[in-house]
């Protein structure tokens, strides 16, 4: 098989100055050097962190009600809606044992597991939940040593809520009317920086 012949016209400048690329290089340098006097747009992560919007789809949490109990009623709406099949719920009748703690509930999860490695973070479980029991946080830098560590059980998901609510005490429920107002407040500004100090020596 032979190589087909192609005629290539190499564009050339009109005189020798164009062919030395001096002027184009200077032109390019003018554009790039202008940026030296502009404000840098980078953040010094991890010292400075970007504040993520409240609807950010990060790690899940199981929310608690006013008395500190989990809101989940084990209706399995979230596991049905999940495209990745990563939620496992084993429901228990809130019979005699749970009567004192969960008076108005028919069911109650004894196992609630989310496999965060299977999860595709689409947020459909949050939309499906009728009780606002499952929600997503802004935690996105998950790291662990084994695959087993990424299966978050009920206690851990409630722990995520406790940790999240400490950082965002005014985090209201997603579908509340105040959600939008909060979203547009300065607290959740995208551009604001938590810790505005610029570390030296970087």
């Amino acid at each position: 098989m032979a190589v087909s012949v192609k005629n290539i016209t190499v564009p050339r400048g009109k005189n020798w100055v164009d062919n030395t690329y001096i002027i184009p290089v200077i032109k390019g340098l003018i554009i790039t050097l202008r940026h030296m006097f502009k404000k840098p747009i980078v953040l010094y992560y991890p010292e400075n962190k970007k504040v993520l919007p409240p609807n950010y789809r990060g790690l899940h949490m199981l929310t608690r009600d006013e008395q500190g109990r989990e809101k989940c009623v084990a209706c399995e709406m979230c596991s049905t809606a999940c495209p990745a099949d990563c939620i496992r719920i084993v429901a228990n009748d809130s019979g005699d044992v749970w009567k004192d703690n969960f008076e108005n509930r028919e069911k109650h999860p004894i196992v609630f597991e989310i496999d965060e490695l299977r999860c595709i973070f689409c947020g459909m479980c949050v939309e499906a939940c009728p009780e606002d029991a499952i929600d997503m946080t802004d935690m996105h830098n998950l790291a662990d040593y084994t695959r087993q560590d990424f299966i978050y059980d009920k206690e851990r998901l409630l722990g995520v809520y406790d940790e999240y609510i400490k950082r965002h005490p005014d985090h209201a429920k997603r579908r509340d009317g105040e959600f939008k107002a909060m979203k547009n407040s300065s607290y959740f500004s995208v551009v604001s920086v938590e810790n505005a100090k610029k570390p030296g020596g970087h």
Binding site: M1, A2, V3, S4, V5, K6, N7, I8, T9, V10, P11, R12, G13, K14, D18, Y21, P24, K27, G28, I31, T32, I41, L52, P53, N55, Y56, R57, T80, A81, C82, P83, I120, F121, C122, G123, M124, E127, A128, M136, K180, K183, N184, V190, V191
Partner: protein
């Protein structure tokens, strides 16, 4: 002053029979070929063709694409793309999920144009199940998908510049793309896998802050584009690397099923937003950029001009955004469309994106087929690269704008 360089056809001792022409080039990786050639002593002296493995892990292949390139000196004799490293069975997955659950998976196909990927599936399901979408939702879909087109082209411009050697363009392109990602993060909570366009509308309504961010971005975009043009388009080094390189004719492009900016660079103003107007596109005033040389430089110019046109659409849609619902109020949790099939095609950033969906009346589709633009556009690569030098391969491949998630699905 202009001078012509010619790639001359040298009389070669290497005959084609030394390669098993019946077998694909993939089998003849260098190690294995040496073994084959050692059997005949005369061929060892006459060995001229060189097989080069580009990828699958190579920065200029934009993902996990493997190119087996047969070289004669520096000149490419054959180029054989080897696909499938990122195959994740999305068609099969779609057939085993309910209709609403398909949408998040399409994010992972064309991950730079996720909004369009979501949109195609959403429209296919809506047509099957005869769901009427509110007008506000259609406007929002247009806004986000055009913003996504700008983001995709900015990302492409940066990657193409980095391929050619202009790393500054890479940084500038990503800087502006970041602003669009901030907008998407504001409305859907995710920066790459949006899942924003859903069956029956969109996931969330836009906020005043989103509106503000979009308008601010569209204000600064013309100045930024001028910067890019000064930095790249007018640069003679860039011109020499791209002008005339990898040129294809319109007939070749059509016969290979090439669509999108690559077809527009060949001189055909084929754009599904104009040819088969869908959604609310007929209401907007915009043009289709066309260039006629079909080379890398014209593909670059088409994409740069498309950003301007997309910005025009976004500002018109944002100004004319009607009040109302952003999604269908009552939508069944499990849609059961009547038996039938539908093919939906749309203009994605990379070309024609089509979804074929067949319903058997159950809650899951019977068959789903995605026609992705990157796959068809990549198919013309062997034709485009023959006769060019190995350094041009990077420029030609970059100008195709492939997304490997889109190629392999």
């Amino acid at each position: 002053m202009s001078h012509d360089t010619q790639i001359k056809k040298e009389p070669s001792n290497l005959s084609s029979k030394q390669f098993r022409t019946d077998s694909p080039l993939i089998d003849q990786i260098p190690g294995r070929k040496r073994q084959i050639l050692r059997e005949s002593p005369e061929s060892e002296l006459k060995m001229e063709e060189f097989l080069l493995n580009v990828g699958p892990q190579h920065p200029s292949t934009h993902g996990v694409l493997r190119l087996v390139v047969a070289l004669e000196g520096e000149v490419i004799k054959r180029c054989d793309p080897d696909l499938g490293y990122l195959h994740r069975t999305f068609e099969k997955i779609s057939e085993s999920r309910s209709y609403q659950q398909i949408v998040p998976f399409t994010d992972r196909m064309d991950y730079l144009g996720s909004m369009n990927a979501n949109w195609g599936v959403a429209v296919a399901v809506e047509k099957l199940a005869k769901i009427e979408v509110p007008e506000r939702a259609e406007y929002l879909r247009v806004i986000v998908s055009e913003l996504n087109r700008i983001a995709s082209h900015l990302m492409w411009m940066g990657a193409f510049g980095a391929d050619i050697g202009a790393v500054t363009a890479f940084l500038y392109g990503f800087r502006e793309r970041e602003l669009i990602l901030d907008m998407f993060e504001e409305i859907c909570g995710s920066r790459l896998t949006y899942g924003y366009i859903r069956v029956g509308g969109v996931a969330e309504d836009i906020t005043p802050k989103f509106d503000k961010l979009v308008r601010e971005f569209l204000d600064i975009l013309p100045a930024k584009l001028e910067d890019y043009h000064n930095l790249i388009t007018g640069n003679p080094i860039f011109l020499e690397r791209t002008r005339g390189v990898g040129a294809i004719t319109l007939e070749e492009a059509i016969s290979y099923g090439v669509t999108g900016p690559m077809l527009k660079a060949c001189g055909m103003p084929w754009d599904l937003r104009k040819e088969e107007p869908y959604s609310v596109y007929p209401k907007f005033d915009f043009d289709i950029p066309v260039y006629y040389n079909g080379d890398c430089f014209d593909r670059f110019r088409v994409r740069m001009d498309e950003m301007v046109e997309s910005a025009k659409i976004v500002i018109q849609a944002l100004d004319g955004l009607p009040e109302g619902d952003y999604k269908v109020k009552k939508l069944a949790r499990n849609i059961k469309p009547p038996v039938g099939d539908v093919y939906v095609r749309q203009e994605a950033p990379r070309g024609e994106y089509g979804v074929y969906m067949e319903s058997d009346g159950s809650t899951k589709p019977n068959r789903v087929k995605y026609r992705t633009p990157s796959f068809s556009n990549l198919s013309i690569l062997p034709l485009m690269t023959v006769g060019w030098k190995i350094a041009d391969l990077v420029a030609i491949l970059g100008s195709v704008d492939i997304v490997l998630g889109d190629v392999d699905r």
